[in-house]
């Protein structure tokens, strides 16, 4: 007998609205149908009526957490169209802002994954260590979110000398804490049992669905825009790309955690190599033509296409966010696992639905579970696993 469990669209469990219809038989999930469109705001239509500099602020507000990714891709696209070269100090500053954003986004994901599993202390501790990063942003750019740093031809604000010591102090503190958290997470047998072997996305499926970012790098597909098509200062400082082959949730978590350490390495490299100089070049007119710009956001590759006819407003502006390609791959990744694991698998692609899109209605399934019920199911499984491990440990202790 088939049961349909609707998850969404207005769920206390989810940060953004999306609608999943899970088809279950017994405890196993056999199918998935996805409905999106709850956040559609018509950015491409609006972008045809704004000037190039106003578009940077329009696309910045597509998403709150990938707030510097869209402006970064946008200025890359316009600079590709017009053939503009930016000064070197601007390249380093753009890279620093991009990597700081990657740090606080990955911390947010690990905290949420901990919450879904029942590890609330992990959640609270990780989110407490996001605060120094947000304070750094307020110090350098003027706001904790929506930094308004990108400008066609460079950056809009400079990093002062007295701020550099704050950045270095925060990086030292975060590196020590990240190493401690990585060891704590990977040592825990319950987390390994919850995440290991669950939600496997094979390499063939990853290539067929065109997934991006840590979702692809956790399945053995080694793509990263920062290495394939370098821009800004990513080819001027040394760093490594992180790839794992297994394709399950533990591999994706490991990719994100180790990428945090690489980000700290890149920021330190940039601060060391930065020299004094100009932060922007003068831009006269945008000629007719077309341009493509991309950036590696924390969730994958962001792609912007712009077409100009010589006036001060573009003819066509196209935005494609990484979650658009990652979310459909859930159809194959969630089949055959328990309902309690379904929440973790749906959250493992780190979906940002604001980047994906907009609005709708509720369906009535045969059996309806609320968000709290699904969370409780997930926590119950963790409790069972904990008992199993401590039970075996007690047995071992009694044997000795």
């Amino acid at each position: 007998m088939k049961t349909i469990i609707p998850v969404g669209p207005y769920h206390p469990l989810q940060a953004e609205p999306e609608f999943f219809k899970l088809e279950v038989e017994g405890e196993k999930v056999t199918g998935l149908e996805i409905n999106i469109g709850y956040n559609h705001r018509g950015h491409e239509y609006l972008a045809q009526r704004k000037t190039y500099e106003q578009i940077i602020f329009l696309v910045e507000r597509i998403c709150g957490i990938c707030s510097c990714s869209h402006p970064f891709a946008s200025v890359n696209a316009v600079e590709n169209l017009a053939g503009i070269e930016i000064p070197e100090r601007a390249k380093y500053i753009r890279t620093i802002i991009g990597e700081l954003e990657r740090l606080h986004s990955h911390f947010l994901w690990v905290g949420l994954a901990g919450h879904f599993m029942g590890y609330n202390t992990l959640w609270m501790w990780f989110w407490r260590y996001r605060e120094p990063i947000l304070e750094l942003f307020e110090l350098i750019t003027g706001n904790r979110n929506h930094y308004a740093m990108m400008k066609i031809g460079g950056v809009s604000k400079d990093i002062e000398d007295e701020d550099i010591s704050s950045i270095q102090k925060t990086m030292n503190e975060l590196e020590a804490k990240t190493v401690m958290f990585i060891k704590a997470i990977l040592d825990d047998p319950v987390i390994a049992a919850r995440l290991g072997g669950v939600g496997i996305l094979t390499k063939e499926d990853a290539i067929k669905y065109g997934v991006l970012g840590p979702t692809a790098r956790g399945s053995g597909v080694a793509i990263d825009v920062r290495k394939d098509d370098p821009y800004a200062a990513y080819d001027l400082v040394p760093w490594d790309i992180i790839v794992f082959e297994e394709g399950d949730l533990l591999a994706k978590a490991k990719v994100r955690l180790l990428e945090c350490l690489e980000s700290i390495k890149i920021i330190r490299g940039c601060l060391e190599q930065m020299r004094k100089g100009e932060i922007e070049t003068k831009v006269e007119d945008i000629p007719p033509g077309e341009g493509i710009g991309r950036h590696e956001a924390p969730r994958g590759e962001v792609f912007h296409y712009v077409r100009s006819d010589g006036s001060n407003m573009p003819l066509r502006y196209k935005v494609r966010a990484p979650s658009y390609m990652n979310v459909p791959s859930n159809e194959v990744a969630v089949k055959g696992y328990d309902i309690a694991d379904a929440i973790l698998v749906l959250a493992s692609v780190d979906p940002c639905y604001c980047c994906t899109e907009r609005m709708a209605t509720l369906y009535d399934g045969n059996k309806k579970l609320t968000g709290k019920d699904l969370l409780k199911l997930s926590w119950k499984k963790t409790e069972q696993l904990k008992k199993k491990f401590s039970h075996s440990e007690n047995k071992l202790a009694s044997l000795l």
Partner: protein, 140 residues
Amino acid sequence: MNELEKEIQDTFKGISIKRHSPKRVYIEIDKEGAHELARFLYEEKGCRLVTATGTDTRKGYEILYHFSMDKTGIIYSVRTVVPKDNPKIMTLASFLPATNWIEREIWELLGIEFEGHPNLKRLLTAEDFPEAYYPLRRGE
């Protein structure tokens, strides 16, 4: 011109290749040739489909398929034009599942019909959005 571009020039007829900047190449071809070229780039050369863009221009509705060759970092954009009085083109979803949502979006906002698509339904707009109203067309 690098080897891949020479190979494409030799294999396909009625094609014009333009290199706009070191890592951006634009290839113009007709409707049927676009389907064959997309299959060639994906299956034989291992390129990844990034996305597809639809634009309303004077000549017709222009579709651009963007393919990325990750080994070299070059993006190959395949440009094809469909006439405004008969906007139909063959879908790529038969061999590339990634185009499922991409082609649905172009149909919903621009009105181009993709023949053979398994699921051409609304994706982004609401259920009570007016039928046959395509926001990105210039006349409306």
